[in-house]
């Protein structure tokens, strides 16, 4: 077994008692500082957590830092002690998504340049600079807290070094001894000094990430790993201190530990590779390929790897991405710089910063270390169709939820109906924003100071302000996840073709049909289902998708976050499309009441009948530079398409054309054996699963079981 496999086996061996001790260590810190101001008490609690937890080192590891030190294992800490600790921590209030604690990409570039000591020096200098400020009474405790947090981080890093040294003394295998001693040396150095080698750099980044995880943060991105580590890589290669395989092992040993976090529930650690650099030149480098290969070798569900493609990106890079996707991992997700950079630029960020974007969570665009943590919500767009059809009254509850925009019988043209719809949407956006701002008030973020996180965001230290209190270079943003683009586009096209261009049916009849969930209106429903559908490259319907994207941007552009930042739109079901569908009555596209709304930017299930090129052409029609958060298009392909370079070249061409036409994002899944087996067992879940073999496409669930087995067999050998 190679070293990585041995490490993964070690990681898989969990202690019997995995109870999380986070609150216990935090409470110990709080308990010694009850009399201190809250920001300081929080910093001491954080320090207690970082320095108090056990430092677990794996025998086969090359990069220290594991969340396992937060599991109870055989430690004599009673349940009663945890109950006591929970009481204290709850009283101070816990950080969460709602207090702007996570979905963030730290400024690791600066941290690598300064190290712990450099950051501390900057904090102290800022303290001196701001001591006479009128609001010094607020800034000084914040900077004190930052200092306490950073000092404790340094201590923690040193402790990992000591733990590695202790383990090195115990092991007999000379290779392990060497590796562990290297970890010990690196960590002891990094407890104060800045990194000089590739190993030291990745070690420092990983321990910072681990510190965030100990705090209980979620969706902390590693960001542009291949960019900020690259200078260290090049220097070590030039000096002969490192070779590619060695670097690959260090990266793999790091990334495979991302999987550990899953013991506490899912996490999304986004890594962006490739993409333009700040100066506009192409950023694909040797490390981009190394990260890809490391992720493939780890073969775990996570990190969320994202590959940024740009005009002139090497074909070899895209091909390498496709090869990894073809293993069934489902990533990297492919991202289009030509759309995302202008999408960010329109909010006035510096061009260099826009080019430096990465992602937090799944696909959300983020400028690393310059924005406060991300927040988003679900805006249920197809609901406004229902309200526009029914004079503002919810068909499910009879409640007047929107303005009275007129009885369906009063609309004489498509334009009349669209005006009513837009009025309902604008009203819905007003309600959405009011709720968002109220929620914001309720979770007063300035009370939850984030001293450690603030050290990773420009210019919190310089300004002496917390990341959520004006410290960040750019204000906070909020993402409105606009649901059901396909339902809305299909519904509008159906209304136009069946009602306003057809003759037999009135809009009032359609409304009645929707209220009745089509009971007694099956013939009308069949007509609606046969109207043009989004995803087939038909302008008659795609123009409503264009409208959808433009109108959401227009409506949400009127609003700002509390600190003056923009509201982005997302054409992505960050929050599932299934609960969204439960809130909506039948829609004019033929969807029945309560059925899921369409997924992200994808066409409605089974409605794309002309293959992936047609889907992509439909998808590329809206102006996605107005969708600053991001889009998701999910596509599934047979693994046979990834099996050799000749076939991958066809996929490569497909993706390039999609991006040239203005597509924003593409997530490809190679249909795995597991998925096919699941589809055989649960055909109702996979009605639209198309398998393509040798140019022949068929719905998988319609095939004879013997044929399904044939495909399964091919997949195994693929």
């Amino acid at each position: 077994m190679d070293n990585l496999s041995c490490l993964q086996a070690e990681i898989a061996q969990l202690p019997q008692d995995t109870t999380r001790l986070t609150t216990y260590y935090l409470a110990l810190g709080f308990a010694q500082h009850f009399d201190d101001p809250v920001p300081l008490a929080r910093a001491y609690a954080f320090a207690s957590l970082l320095t108090g937890h056990r430092k677990v080192i794996y025998t086969h590891d090359r990069i220290a830092g594991s969340i396992r030190g937060c599991m109870r294992g055989d430690l004599p800490i009673s349940d009663a002690a945890l109950t006591w600790a929970n009481g204290i921590v709850t009283s101070y209030g816990a950080n969460s998504f709602l207090t702007n604690a996570d979905h963030f990409a730290p400024d690791y570039e600066t941290f690598l340049a300064e190290g712990v000591a450099g950051t501390l020096a900057r904090i102290r200098s800022s303290k001196r600079q701001h001591q006479e400020d009128p609001d010094a009474v607020k800034k000084q405790p914040f900077l004190d807290a930052a200092e306490i947090a950073m000092l404790s981080f340094g201590t923690m890093v040193g402790q990992y070094g000591d733990a590695a040294a202790a383990l090195a003394a115990q092991v007999s295998d000379p290779i392990h001894k060497t590796h562990l001693s290297e970890i010990a040396r690196a960590c002891r150095k990094l407890s104060t000094d800045k990194p000089d080698t590739f190993q030291e750099a990745i070690q420092l980044v990983w321990l910072a990430h681990i510190a965030f995880l100990y705090e209980g943060r979620y969706a902390m991105a590693l960001g542009r790993l291949d960019q900020f580590l690259y200078p260290f890589y090049v220097r070590d290669i030039t000096r002969g201190l490192l070779n590619r395989e060695e670097a690959l092992e260090l990266v793999a040993c790091t990334l495979c530990k991302i999987g550990e976090r899953r013991i506490w529930g899912s996490d999304v650690v986004n890594i962006a590779i490739g993409g333009l650099r700040r100066d506009g030149t192409g950023g694909v480098n040797a490390l981009s390929y190394i990260v890809l290969e490391a992720v493939r070798r780890c073969n775990i569900p996570g990190p969320n790897l994202s590959a940024r493609l740009y005009d002139g990106v090497p074909d070899a890079f895209l091909d390498a991405c496709l090869e990894v996707i073809g293993t069934g991992l489902g990533y990297p997700a492919l991202m289009n710089d030509a759309v995302n950079i202008p999408a960010l630029r329109r909010h006035g960020y510096a061009l260099e910063d826009c080019r430096d974007y990465c992602f937090v969570g799944c696909i959300e665009n983020f400028i690393p270390g310059k924005q406060p943590p991300w927040s988003d919500g679900r805006y249920n767009s197809p609901k406004y169709l229902e309200l526009a059809m029914n004079n503002g009254v919810c068909m499910l509850t009879g409640v007047q939820m929107g303005p009275a925009t007129g009885d369906a019988a009063s609309f004489c043209s498509m334009a009349d109906f669209m005006a009513a719809l837009k009025a309902q949407m604008a009203y819905g956006a007003a309600e959405y924003m009011a709720r968002f701002l109220n929620e914001n008030d309720r979770h007063n973020r300035t009370r939850y100071t984030q001293p450690f996180l603030s050290c990773f965001c420009q210019d919190c230290i310089g300004r002496g302000r917390d990341i959520n209190d004006g410290g960040a270079v750019y204000p906070s943003v909020h993402g409105a996840g606009c649901m059901g683009i396909a339902n809305v586009a299909d519904s509008l096209a159906a209304i136009e073709t069946v009602i306003f261009q057809g003759e037999a049916v009135s809009l009032a009849t359609l409304r009645d049909a929707l209220r009745a969930n089509f009971a007694g209106y099956e013939a009308l429903r069949a007509k609606l289902l046969h109207a043009p559908k989004y995803g087939n490259n038909l302008d008659a319907v795609d123009r409503y998708a264009v409208w959808f994207v433009a109108v959401h941007d227009e409506i949400f552009s009127r609003y700002r976050t509390p600190d003056g930042g923009p509201i982005y739109t997302a054409i992505a079901s960050n929050v599932s499309n299934i609960p969204a569908g439960k809130e909506i009555a039948a829609t004019p596209d033929g969807r029945r009441s309560g059925q899921p709304v369409s997924d992200a930017a994808s066409p409605s299930h089974g409605m794309d009948k002309n293959g992936p090129t047609a889907v992509m052409q439909s998808l590329a029609k809206p102006d996605y530079t107005r969708v600053s958060c991001g889009t998701v298009l999910n596509q599934k392909y047979s693994p046979a398409l990834f099996s050799d370079p000749g076939k991958r070249a066809k996929l490569l061409a497909l993706i390039k054309v999609y991006f040239q036409k203005g597509g924003q994002e593409l997530q490809i899944n190679a249909v795995s054996r597991e998925l096919l087996a699941d589809a055989m067992d649960n055909p109702e879940k996979y009605r639209d699963l198309v398998v393509r073999v040798s140019g022949f496409s068929a719905y998988f669930t319609q095939l004879d079981p013997r044929v399904q087995m044939d495909i399964l067999e091919r997949t195994e050998h693929g």
């Binding site: 090129t613 061409a653 497909l654 393509r692 073999v693 040798s694 140019g695 495909i711």
Partner: protein
Amino acid sequence: MAEPTALISSLQHFSVGDGPGIRSTVFFQGCNLRCPWCHNPETISLRPVLLFDPSRCTDCGLCVRVCPSGAQALREGHHVFIRSLCAGCGACPDACPADALRLSGRAMTVAEVLAFIEEDRDFYAASGGGVTLSGGEPLLQAPFCASLAAECHRLGLSVILDTAGQVPFAAFEQVLPHIDRFYIDLKCGSETPYRDLCGGSLKQVLQNMARLVAAGHAVTARIPVVPGYNDRASDWIQMRDALQQTGVREVHLLPYHRLGTSKYTFLGQPYGLWPVVPPSREHMQALRAIFASDFDVAIEG
């Protein structure tokens, strides 16, 4: 005079097994052979045929209301399709809300087919792809193939014609100037089994291949590998020898698959080849070796 039309079974974008690059494939309706392993059985009939998927049917009866010939009926609340009454008019698929009905064989003009083809021009350009005319037997509608291929050439698109070759050479002559490569099936290595299995004359196929090669046209022989039907060692030697006579240099081996079997159900026809299991990868490699010394061989699919 009305514009000439062809009977088209279906049009497909992003075909990746019908030649180089990303292609759009035009499946012509109608075939003059009856190969038992056919994976596109709906294209065989010279008249439009209706495919009906009973598993999707919801017994709603909407098709009954639009059917002019009484082929769609409801009996005790359950839908029945009486194929013998169906005229293939194509009214019912548009009425069906459940996607249970599809018509194979619609009359289309060159302009209509071309409009579909043109949608994906950027994808052909980026991938070195183009258009493939397939079927069914496209050359049963040779004049239409010629017009369509000429229009494709006018747009700078490459055209492959995928044929069983069971037509008079005159049919080829009509399309010759506008076809960049011919894919011609070689289903057997000798006359008798070809006649018995597929219902045609192998001699005609081989002669067509030879004449095309002699006239300087690019020809690829495509061999469906169907275990128990054409994959005995003697079959392979015969096929190889026969091909050598024609001058064809490029061979594609296509492993038999059963992906088209659901369509037999939709057509209400029995599928006779269930006992046949797709050839293993190892078997395909062994066959490849037989051809490799004399031909450029690729295993497709």
